[in-house]
Structure formats: structure tokens, C-alpha cells
């Protein structure tokens, strides 16, 4: 029964689920720390997923697909910047609009370019091949978790410490934190918070683009409408819970991702599909409740 849940292929599937959430959350963290309330991660991811398929389909290379995804993510980030930073639109309003824009544009282009509605799959879409890491691969269970994953999984893992160090010690990182905490002070020092936030949005776009690529050309090789399916929101919760700190962020993302892949397994136990579908969101909500409660205790 338990072995039915925790078989090796389950272990192997966990990173597949963690990575998109983790990458998106890292992007969200940059925005959070820089003081941009970006709740459009869902839209960012979706755009990335579509661009990845587009890029891979026309170039035949998953790497170019990933690059296209990052470019698209950055483009959406710039749209966000234009309307929030430059035109002064409310971040929440802009976010909602961008989520809708992404959903509409991807489905529209899907039909405009490939003349299909719903989902697009084609042999010409080349996905990432699993990377086999020599020694690690031979470790019994762990081997299947750490080795044989898509390159983006390793990118995500490396990104966690990278972002942490960047925020702690890099000039731009320092300024992002300042923009998020006391922008007026930054401005008085002669650095425009807007420019700093623009960079945060660019970074966010890059990470979310990769998150999308992991979904559409690493986990599978195709694009499906609304493929992000709530992951962006879960990433946002992770960001809010950890206030954008990369290391805790990794833990939370790992939990959510594990529950996500776990929910597939429990169907085997005859649990109604609707309840397994619900699990990731309930888990998210519960973690949220638990932490909020704990924080309340702390402050009070």
C-alpha cells in the first residue's frame, strides 16, 4: 500500500512538480523583495510554456525553446513594468489583466499559428532529454530523484543559493531590498526605485519563463490551454509565506510540489478524483493557516 505510493517513479516525479513552482516562486521573490506586488505569476508561467513550445517547434531545439520562454517571460515583465511602473497602474489590477491577457493570447495564438484549440502536440516539438549524472545515478532511490531529470531541474536547484547570495551581497540585490523596504530612501540616495523594480520584473520574467518551459517541454512535449493550472498562485503563496527569502522558499516549494505529485498516487487507493485534485490547494491553505497562526502567536 505505502510502496504503492512511494515507489521509485514517485520519487522521480517529485522534482518534475517542484521545479515549476520553485522557479516561479524565485521570480516572485525578486518582485516581492523589490516591492512589486506581482500576482501575475500564473500568466507569466503560461506565456513561458507557450513560447517554449513555439521555440522548440520552429527551432527543433529545447534550449532555443527555453530561451524563447525566457524572452517571452521578460516581455510580459516589461508589459507589467510599462503599466505599473511607468503608467502607475495598481499592481493588483495590472496583475489580473496580465493573467487574463496571457490566457487569451496563448489560446488565440494557438489557433492563429497552429489552428488547434485546446491542446497542441506535434513530433516537431523537441523536449529536454533527462540528464544522467554518472555517480549519483547509481544511488538506490535517491539516484532516481537527483539524476535523470531535465536540465531545468538543476537550473532551479542552483538558482536558490544564487538568488540568496545575489540579494545579500550584490549591488542590485541590495538596491532591490531597499526598493522593497524604503523606496524613498533609495530615491534620496539618487537611485530610481522604478529602475530597480524594472530589473526585478525582468528577473521574474526569466524565472517564470523557465518554469513554463519545464511544464511544456520537459514534463511533456506539448502545450495545453491554461497549462499553468494554478501553480502560479501556489508559487505566490510560497512567496508570501517566506516573504521572498530563497532558502525557506525552497522548502515550501518542495512541500507543495511533493503534495502535488503525491495527489496523483493516492487515486490508486480509490480516493475520488475530485479529492485528489483538491489536495495541493488544501495543503497550500493548511500550510498558510498553520504559519499565519504561528506568526500571530509570535507577535502577540
Amino acid at each position: 500500500m505505502l510502496d504503492l505510493l512511494f515507489d521509485a517513479s514517485f520519487m522521480a516525479s517529485v522534482p518534475r512538480f517542484v521545479t515549476p513552482i520553485l522557479l516561479a516562486a524565485l521570480g516572485g521573490a525578486l518582485c516581492e523583495r523589490a516591492g512589486v506586488f506581482n500576482i501575475a505569476l500564473e500568466g507569466f508561467i503560461l506565456t513561458g510554456a507557450f513560447a517554449a513550445v513555439l521555440g522548440s517547434y520552429f527551432s527543433g531545439s529545447p534550449w532555443l525553446g527555453a530561451i524563447a520562454a525566457m524572452a517571452a517571460g521578460i516581455a510580459i515583465g516589461l508589459v507589467f513594468a510599462e503599466f505599473h511602473l511607468r503608467r502607475g497602474g495598481d499592481a493588483i489590477v495590472v496583475s489580473i489583466a496580465i493573467n487574463i491577457l496571457a490566457a487569451g493570447l496563448t489560446t488565440y495564438l494557438l489557433r492563429a499559428i497552429f489552428d488547434v484549440m485546446g491542446a497542441f502536440s506535434d513530433p516537431a516539438i523537441v523536449g529536454f532529454q533527462p540528464v544522467r549524472i554518472p555517480l549519483i545515478a547509481d544511488i538506490p532511490v535517491l539516484g532516481r530523484v537527483l539524476s535523470g531529470q531535465s536540465p531545468l531541474v538543476y537550473v532551479a536547484l542552483l538558482a536558490v543559493p544564487a538568488v540568496h547570495i545575489f540579494l545579500a551581497r550584490h549591488r542590485l540585490g541590495l538596491r532591490m531590498r531597499a526598493a522593497g523596504e524604503n523606496a524613498a530612501a533609495l530615491e534620496a540616495g539618487g537611485v530610481s526605485p522604478r529602475r530597480v523594480r524594472l530589473w526585478a520584473l525582468v528577473g521574474c520574467g526569466t524565472f517564470c519563463g523557465l518554469a513554463g518551459a519545464q511544464l511544456s517541454i520537459a514534463n511533456v512535449n506539448l502545450f495545453v490551454e491554461n497549462m499553468s493550472a494554478g501553480r502560479g498562485w501556489i508559487a505566490i503563496v510560497a512567496v508570501l509565506l517566506t516573504r521572498g527569502r530563497p532558502l525557506p522558499l525552497f522548502l515550501i516549494a518542495a512541500i507543495f510540489g511533493t503534495v502535488d505529485s503525491f495527489s496523483f498516487r493516492v487515486q490508486g487507493l480509490g480516493l475520488a478524483q475530485q479529492f485528489t485534485d483538491m489536495m495541493p490547494y488544501l495543503a497550500t491553505l493548511m500550510v498558510l493557516v498553520a504559519l499565519s497562526w504561528w506568526r500571530k502567536r509570535q507577535t502577540a
Partner: protein, 312 residues
Amino acid sequence: QDRFFVYVSPDPIGVNAFLQLGQKGIEAAGEEYGAEVRTYESRTAAERLENVNAAVNEGADIVVLLGFEFNDIVRQIAPTAPDTQFLIVDQCIEDRPENVHCAVFREYEASYLLGVEAGLLSETGRVGVVGALDIPFLHRHTDGYAEGVRSVAPDTEVDVRWVGGENPFADPVRAKEQAVAMHAAGADYILSATSGGDFGVFEAAREEGFKVFTVDVNHCPSTPGHIVDVMLKRVDTAVVQAIGDILEGQHDIVMSLGLKEGGMSTLALEGDLLADSQCLIAEHPEVIEKVREVAASIIDGSLELQDPMFAQ
């Protein structure tokens, strides 16, 4: 060219072979009977209603509707649109207005045959089937399959799972995960009835190295060496045929298509197609033998299967 046919799909057609067949059928009918043809794709319950309304509004002579999703809608609209004929495929509604016709398939006959094959071929004593959504209609695939398995291998376990999620009929991601999970649980032969999700299952088969059965059209070439056999559902020919009958002025047409009528089949039964189908079943003559036996007994009625759709 004054005739005007409209095909309303219940869901986005996308990679959904079944809905693609419907479109193929309507286009063929357009050719054959010289009619202008339009396809309205729907994504939501509201859109289905609006599309059928629109079809009537645009003055369609015949509206072809795939799937049970349209029952209520037809009941509502058909009486108010006397000069439009409705053809529902896959579903027959009782006490229907006379401008409503239907063509249904007995999928369970073909899935039964696939089950027989799985039962005979499985080495692990465990086979699986993944359906898009836990709805009665899809039990025609899953239950028929399970029946078939048990008929030849009583103690082989059948693992049944559903894709579910946001869009069950077009979610290769979830379909793939379910297949992987079932294989991890020991299933070595898996029937995929997930329409849009099938590609995901094929990918899983390629990566994890198990064998799959599939439905609607011959996918074998897309994943050589992994697809055993295919349930053929001849929606296109059915549509053309039914429209012909309608145009002849027949009233209240009810088609039920199974092995007997040639509306349902599997590649194993199609000597001519089988040769270059690239399906694994071709390498198991003894299984083919057995399957054709069973098929024959279903056709001559000596073996009676009842429709799982209304079981439960």
C-alpha cells in the same frame, strides 16, 4: 450549394481524435451532398448552448452534435427550430422531437476485445486503464475492457484511473502521470481513453517502457513498438451515412453501431489495415486468432454484452 451543415463540438477539438473524426465526417458529408460546412467549437456549457443557438440562427439545415453534452440543449432548442435537423452522435435522448436523430456506438464491444488481448498478453498479472473522467460514457471503455480481461485471465487485476483536473479531456500532463503511476504499480498493458491526453500516455510508455492500447484512430506509427492495438470508432462514416438518411427524409433515425455494423472495430480484426499499421498486435497471431473468435461470437449474438453506461 444552398445546403448548410454545422458541426458543434462539445470541447475544443485540439488533439482529440474523436472530435477530429466528427469534423472529418462533416467535411466528407459536405463534399458528398454539396453543402457549406462550418465547425463551432465550444469550451464551456454556456458556449455549447450559444453555439447551437447560433447554428440555428445562421440557418443551418443540419446540426451535427458530438456527445451527450447536448441533450438538454437539443431538448430546449429543437422544438423551436422546426426547419433544422439535429444529429446527435454518441447519444440518444428519449422522447425526442422528430427533427432530432441519433447515432450511438457500442464501444464496449471493441474495448472488450482489447481487454481480451491485454488479458492474454499481460505478464505481470496486472493491467490498467486510464480514462479522461469518471463518467458513465467512459465506462463503455473501462468496464468493457475489464470484462474482456477477466474473460480470459480471471485473476488479472485491472487498475482503473481517471485524468480529472482542470480539463480532463485534454490534459496530457495528468494523463501521463496517471499512466506512470499505474505502471509503477505493476501494470504492463494500459488502455488509454483520455482523448486529448493520449499523447501523454504514449510519452510515458516510451519513457517507462510499457505497452498501451488506444482508441479512435491508429496512433501506432507515432509511438512504434509501444502501441498494441487500437479501438476504431468510425464516427466519420457514421456521420456521412446518417446525414444521407436525413436528407432522404427519414424520420427519427436511430443508428446503433457496433462490430456487427462495422461502426466499431479494432485493428486486429482488420486484416488489410493491420499489415502496415505498425501495431504490436500484428506480432501475436495466436492472440489475433482468439480475438477474432470472440468478435465473431459477439457479432452472431452468441456472446451478449450489456451496455456499462447504464450499469450502476
